[in-house]
Symmetry: C2
DNA sequence: TTTTTCATCATACAATTGATTTATTTACCA
DNA sequence: TGGTAAATAAATCAATTGTATGATGAAAAA
């Protein structure tokens, strides 16, 4: 199935190059263009866009915010970041915002066409210059004890709910208000949680919950 | 520059298919083959291998362990995981082990050739069936306030040390014993930490510290 | 139907924590 | 050499947290 493409890029020269490149690509149906984030979002709202090629160095609203907005409008659309700077923070933030791929502007056009196609099919792709950042970030996502999820500790639904609130730093009183129960009830649940997790206090419980992703 | 390829795959049929495919690819120099992890590691040790295509469903030692071993022998070599199952745990663990790409066996050969080439140049690629796992994992690596590392909050060395112990769930008394100071001193430091982090209690301090990797 | 589990609440007490204030010693810097 | 920041410590008090124990009603399981 053919795809509609939106190119978001402030430099006319680059935009023209991209457009010309993708005009000749058989899987591309219509190409839309925007030179700033606001226009891009407008166009995205009013048309069925499958793929967005997003420049990060935009005036006013930056590309990351635009990515976030577009992603929240339709998370089916694939967003490919195209940029010349490859700062770790920027890479991770754009992925957090909903990007599906990250390309350096040094990429050769043939490769870019391949990337866009595979990303449009759902793949994720990362440029050599920043691949290590992504690989490292995923590697840091501890999974070793993934088995120790909350079923292991046999928390009840209510307890899990309260543990969640604990990991967000709420006091017993706040939890009670939040769930519209008495502080005493909260304390009873907390006591039960502490027992089940085999810890001494709420701090340890919260740490354990975060560490092993119990909540 | 041409690359040497090692194919690790226990099914002869698949191995043969892969070999035949890559024999015709211009960027490939020599193709090595292994049907199990032990052989693969032997071959990897004795030859200059640039790219490894690794099946995960191997007998005896599994593909993830093999990936780890190979990665530790030479982290310049690119490892492409090829598998039919796409369990989240397996995906993340193989990346942790040092994989650079993750392909489903359903991939078409032309695409695989493209992937292998771009990965050999340093890119990272993830199959549509598992891309969301990787994207989510990276998104979870909190970076929003990457600036807010412990220098931002101007913690003293002692305070940072105590905050670290807090994130490990120690009580004031335990921290005091650990650092051979009085509980009163510990409390003084904790009070200062809470102020600097702008939080209400040690739980919130620990959560913030963990979340923003202050310690 | 009986038993068990869960969620709820209470009271009382002990322990810990956090806030506040004050003060001493050390170290470094201008 | 005087000033500043850091680490140390103590005392006190209020608030929060955790422990222990018991009780009730509803729902689920045996």
């Amino acid at each position: 199935m053919k795809k509609n493409l939106l190119i978001v890029e402030d430099h006319e020269l680059t935009r023209f190059g991209l457009k010309t490149t993708f005009e000749d690509v058989e899987y591309v149906e219509t190409i839309y263009e925007a030179s700033n984030a606001e226009d891009a979002i407008e166009i995205f709202k009013n048309n069925k866009i499958d793929i967005v090629i997003m420049d990060l160095g935009l005036p006013n609203m930056n590309g990351i915010e635009a990515t976030q907005t577009i992603h929240s409008l339709n998370d089916e659309a694939k967003i490919i970041i195209l940029t010349s700077h490859n700062d770790e923070k920027e890479v991770l933030n754009s992925l957090k915002a909903g990007a599906n791929a990250y390309c350096s502007k040094e990429i050769n056009l043939q490769r870019l066409v391949q990337v866009v196609q595979s990303v449009s099919e759902g793949a994720a792709w990362f440029d050599p210059s920043i691949a290590h950042i992504v690989l490292q970030a995923t590697a840091n996502t501890a999974t070793e004890d993934k088995e120790s999820n909350f079923k292991e500790y046999d928390l009840t639904a209510r307890e899990a709910q309260i543990l969640k609130l604990m990991t967000e730093g709420y006091s017993n009183m706040e939890i009670a208000q939040h769930l519209v129960i008495s502080v005493n009830t909260t304390k009873a649940h907390v006591a039960s949680i502490l027992q089940k997790l085999e810890v001494d206090d709420r701090l340890q419980a919260a740490i354990k919950a975060l560490k092993y992703k119990i909540v």
